[in-house]
């Protein structure tokens, strides 16, 4: 499939931070891939024009599954092409708590979360416990988190399985409290120390945190997995604070848009290119695919996390 290849190529472009810096051989190879991608997108565009949908991802996946496949490696980094076909877990596996914990334990090792957890001076609980005045200090982020937690992976949203699994969690104080602790701790982790002030809570992260909580089964490991994804796996500046907010995601969107422009032979208007690239990078990239593609596919892709560190 073009997905992994396209995105591996995009990743190399994004790593150099400007579309023009894409190496010539990579560009030639990608031209053919994008050509095929464009044909798929054209069909999707025609359908989209007819639809009233207010859910772009749903629309895209219903009309053109391969377009969504194109996002398989949107958890970029220098990802090698993903194996085809991907081995997706069965629903029975996804519903099996022991199986999920074994996946989370493996992710802890391969993405560096276990090392972070062992070597950090501050524990998860240290980060999650707000110091006096902390609420005021992180007011905007905390208010957004508190508004987002109850509306994370809601039942009426795309994939019911996530909500089922969240409901089954037996964390103390309920999963909403665990989710809030994870995200508040993340804000403090990102805003303090040497990593200072570069990244912050971005709407969509709560989806990742919820999925990690479902797999890890406890807030502490879910937190360190999230830290590893945000600090080590996501491209630089992907979750950047203003000014230059979300710059990493915008750079990637720019790369996609560039490819559509230069290989799509004018079949896409500037607005359309902006939209398609936004879906692929921001809408699906920021939440690391959680609730954008079926849970089994999300997990199959997450299993390739080791390539990115």
């Amino acid at each position: 499939g073009f997905g992994g290849l396209l995105w591996a190529g995009l990743a190399s472009g994004a790593a150099q931070c400007r579309p023009a810096a894409l190496r010539a051989p990579a560009r030639a190879a990608m031209a053919a891939l994008v050509e095929r991608c464009c044909a798929a997108l054209s069909r999707w565009r025609a359908q989209a024009a007819r639809s009233n949908s207010s859910d772009l991802i749903e629309l895209a996946s219903a009309r053109e599954p391969r377009l969504v496949g194109g996002c398989r490696a949107s958890l970029v980094g220098a990802a090698p092409p993903l194996p085809q076909p991907l081995r997706e877990p069965t629903e029975a596996q996804l519903r099996d708590g022991a199986w999920r914990r074994s996946r989370a334990a493996r992710w802890m090792e391969v993405c560096g979360a276990a090392v972070l957890k062992r070597s950090s001076r501050a524990s998860f609980r240290d980060y999650a416990a707000l110091e006096p005045g902390g609420r005021e200090l992180y007011k905007e982020a905390i208010e957004t988190i508190e508004r987002d937690v109850p509306r994370t992976l809601p039942g009426s949203f795309r994939f019911r399985l996530w909500r089922d699994l969240l409901g089954e969690l037996r964390t103390s104080g309920g999963y909403e409290e665990a989710l809030r602790d994870i995200l508040v701790a993340l804000v403090r982790r990102l805003q303090t120390g040497m990593r200072g002030g570069q990244r912050g809570y971005t709407q969509g992260m709560s989806n990742i945190a919820a999925a990690l909580l479902v797999f890890a089964g406890d807030a502490e490991d879910a937190f360190w997995l999230l830290v590893a994804l945000v600090e080590r796996v996501a491209p630089p500046d992907f979750y950047a604070e203003p000014p230059g907010a979300l710059n990493g995601a915008l750079v990637e969107a720019g790369v996609v848009s560039f490819l559509l422009e230069h290989t799509g032979a004018g079949r896409f208007s500037a607005d359309e290119r902006a939209s398609v690239s936004q879906i692929l990078t921001v809408k699906m990239g920021v939440p690391f695919l959680v609730d954008c593609v079926p849970p089994a596919l999300t997990i199959a892709i997450w299993d390739h996390i080791q390539g990115w560190t």
């Binding site: 565009r45 025609a46 989209a48 024009a49 007819r50 639809s51 009233n52 949908s53 207010s54 859910d55 772009l56 905007e140 957004t144 508004r147 987002d148 509306r151 994370t152 992976l153 809601p154 039942g155 009426s156 949203f157 912050g200 971005t202 709407q203 969509g204 709560s206 950047a240 604070e241 203003p242 230059g244 907010a245 979300l246 710059n247 995601a249 915008l250 969107a253 208007s269 500037a270 607005d271 359309e272 902006a274 939209s275 936004q278 879906i279 921001v282 809408k283 920021v286 939440p287 609730d291």
Partner: protein
Amino acid sequence: MASEKEKDQYDYLFKFIIIGDAGAGKSCLLHQFIENRYKKGSSHTIGVEFGSKIIHVGGRNIKLQIWDTAGQERYRSVTRSYYRGAAGALIVYDITNRDSYNHLVNWLQDARTLARADTSIITVGNKCDMKDKRAVTFLEASRCAQENDILFLETSALTGEGVEDVFIKVARVILNKIEDGLIDPNTMVSGTHTGSQRIGSDSGGEAMSSKTCSC
């Protein structure tokens, strides 16, 4: 299907954007307008969403192409490119949340600088069903809208109160501007997914015309 065909018959295509603070109810407002019902368990918007609907105003069929944006401040870097060419802008605040009202001026400035110079703007005080938690009075918001020369309505995306009126009111103002010759409909830039033929240059000019849409 016949209804499918009917659906695409329109005289004008207007691009709208919905902006405002996170949690003000922008997505629910759009959902209520398009589906005529409240979206229970709505998630926060990541980036931008899209919806469209044909309405009948002043004897015309007008297709609204509506872009619904994420409210978190950092997403402005993503959403700002969607303002371009918008004929109408809905700035939504939550009547139970004073901060969301206080930020109106910022959103207004964004709309005026990033959309068209002649964008028709409406302030929408949402969640007007939650009267006991009201933090912004109707009178205050109404005065503020007058001072800034923009429209104002209160809505409830939950009950549907006022929701359709918002879209119709803005569309009527735009239609009046067209009929008074203040806006040349052919200069209107649409967003994505119009399916209409391209005219003009890379600046993204697309024809906004009656029934020429190729979709």
